[in-house]
Amino acid sequence: MTNKNSNWDLSPAPESTGHISLNDHYGVFIDGEFRTPAHGNRFQSINPSTGELLAEITESSAEDVDQAVAAARKAFSGEWSKIGGRERGKYLYRLARMLQEKSREFAVIESLDGGKPIRESRDVDVPLAAAHLFYYAGWADKISYAFPNRNPKPVGVAGQIIPWNFPLLMAAWKIAPALATGNTVVLKPAETTSLTALKLAELIQEAGFPPGVVNIVTGHGDVGAAIVNHDDVDKVAFTGSTEVGKLIQKSIAGTNKRCTLELGGKAANIVFDDAAIDQAVEGIVNGIYFNQGHVCCAGSRLFVQESIHDELIAKLKHRMGTLIVGDPMDKNTDVGAINSREQLATIEHYIEVGKQEGAEFYQTDCELPQQGFWCRPTLFTDVAQSNRIAQEEIFGPVLAVQTFRTVAEVIKKANNTPYGLSAGVWTDKGSKIFNMTSQMKAGVVWANTYNLFDPASPFGGYKESGFGREGGLHGLSAYLEI
């Protein structure tokens, strides 16, 4: 019989991991083959939710990078730049389809390696990665229509460095437009999350891409630096921190390397008193707790019109209480593990800063697993524009809430940041949306939604959030001499 007022808790619903195939160790992917460099330097890739070892990854040397760039150059001068857009498109379509076929394996590995909930890697990361490949496959034989009367030409060898928050998706964002436009690439995944890029290399091999079109070298920051500084790299594409982005800018100054940077953010998510409040709460949660807040466009600064502040915060706390935090492999998990020990330390540091600054601190009281790296969904209210937690990127599930009175005030405060990647506006009034979107200094402005991505839509920043756009027609031009 049913108990009245029963606590109806969900039983564990773990995604099985038995079907995936992972090697004990991985070499680097150069010229169409996996190579085990003679130096034998490796580091460990662990599961951040348990601390268990997943595989050993090669710490590439400058010589490995040299070989990768040479292979990319050979492929660019050889077959790849001559086979034509239609053939390049076929390869990309094939890769996209193969990724879809293996989507379950990729989703599981992405969650094991990065700590993100399987629901997200299954429903967001992997499908979006495939969508990007499909989208740019479609452009491959239509480049001349995209830039009429310009005779666009590929740039050459692209050096691409991607972050750990969306490992496979960022690889697809980088590789798809580069290959569609006829370039070849040397890609370096982040050191904590190399596995899905290496699995993608296996697919590229299986799809029969000409050797050297895609090369993947693994390792830490100095490997990235070796790619950036390599004489034979024509274009650098980087997604990551603003700090590293500035270093890259400095190091390529005086060269003729082209560059696009997609860097940090501290996005304003603005809720007006006429907004659909329950849906706004949903968007706030999706804006900051999606992927544990490891999102460069996360809506980490919430601006609430003062007249609805208390009601909205009460609703937000209620919704936060329904978030399930824990095992990323459980299909019901909403918030997974923090990606690394280092990142957890950064987040905890900022939480301390927030408390010391006098902001009101709130966390849900959910239980956390014993092993691994975890942070409860966190909320700071009574935050001021002068607080560090409102100024600096935390890259974790920490939301800083400020109030405002007028449209003019909130525009001024929202733009009062060195960043400008994204923003959100919540109002039932169309005219207000158009007013806001034209005045926000942000590359992406979402209206009545948040963290919604589409391969056809360009993505990129203002100010210290970087320059250049990825996605859409804009994403092609970064890889073309027009």
């Binding site: 049913t2 606590n7 659909a276 849906q279 299909k331």
Partner: protein, 302 residues
């Protein structure tokens, strides 16, 4: 329950349809396994208002329905009964007699169901008849025509009058959301019904398509939550029509749990208006117990 105020100006929060649909979809991504599934299925059974509302209803049909309500599937032990049977007013007396001694409620539709197009006097007489025959619950319909005309005070007053006529019977107010046209109107009608004294708000008569959907139900649950947060008073919810599969019913329960909390996971506060849902739930329970699906013919169709 008369602590509620009669609002003379009705204003409800804006509803963003795209956001509601997205949120509703998210509940369906919950994976309900093992003990949670079994407990959920039993909860669904205990929340069903087993319904027959046909022009060709007969004494025989109503008797059979009442028997089914008490004996869902006797070959499985320990199953709960449904919450109520729901019939037209002229069958209330019969249903009460057949169900005497059980804790199953008798609900009756009233107020010129399903259109609601009649005078207040006739609607109140309809309610009075059902109540005098012993109805525990009255399922009224709101005047959708007057609602669309903008006569919100009329709609409010009518609900309040029906509530008064119910006496101790609990009032479920059917909004007939399939005729309201937008989620903003669903929210407004929910707020009016709650303010006027409804003990339950209910989506549909079952005579109009679409009947209950998850987005519509979510908007109504949010109205109930907002009212509870402001007043501390609970209001019940009954989606009706279109829920015939156990899996969908479980997703509704997830939605109730995450929107209102565990207190609402109780037949006193949440019901399914359905005629064919019970058998699919029974089939799933049998499957959980035996490991195999049984043919539909093993489950009684009353």
């Amino acid at each position: 329950m008369n602590q509620r105020q009669s609002a003379h100006v009705f204003s409800s929060p804006a509803i963003d349809q795209v956001g509601v649909v997205e949120r509703a979809k998210r509940f369906t991504a919950r994976s309900i396994k093992n003990e949670a599934k079994m407990k959920g299925l039993e909860m669904v059974l205990s929340m069903i208002d087993l319904t027959t509302l046909e022009g060709m209803d007969t004494e025989g049909k109503v008797k059979q329905l009442c028997y089914k309500a008490q004996h869902l599937h006797d070959s499985i032990e320990g199953l709960p009964n449904v919450a109520a049977v729901c019939v037209y007013p002229n069958f209330v007396g019969l249903a009460k007699r057949v169900l005497a001694g059980s804790d199953i409620k008798v609900a009756s539709v009233a107020t010129a169901f399903p259109s609601g197009n009649s005078s207040l006097e006739i609607k109140l007489a309809d309610v009075a008849m059902a109540v005098s025959e012993g109805a525990d619950e009255i399922d009224m319909v709101i005047s959708r025509g007057r609602f669309h005309h903008g006569d919100y005070n009329f709609v409010f007053d009518e609900i309040a009058a029906v509530k008064a006529a119910c006496g101790s019977a609990r009032l479920k107010t059917i909004l007939e959301t399939g005729e309201l046209g937008s989620l903003d109107k669903v929210r407004l009608a929910s707020d009016i019904a709650i303010a006027a004294g409804a003990d339950f708000i209910k989506t549909s008569t079952g005579k109009i398509q679409p009947a209950a959907t998850m987005p519509v139900t979510l908007v109504m649950l949010e109205a109930i939550r907002d009212h509870f947060q402001k007043t501390g008073l609970m209001v019940g919810m009954k989606p009706a029509g279109g829920i015939s599969k156990a899996k969908l019913a479980l997703h509704y329960l997830i939605m109730v749990k995450e929107t209102l909390g565990n207190d609402w996971l109780d037949p006193k506060w949440f019901r399914f208006g359905a005629s064919s849902l019970a058998n699919d739930v029974l089939m799933q329970i049998a499957k959980q117990q035996t490991g195999a699906y049984q043919a539909a013919n093993y489950f009684a169709v009353d």
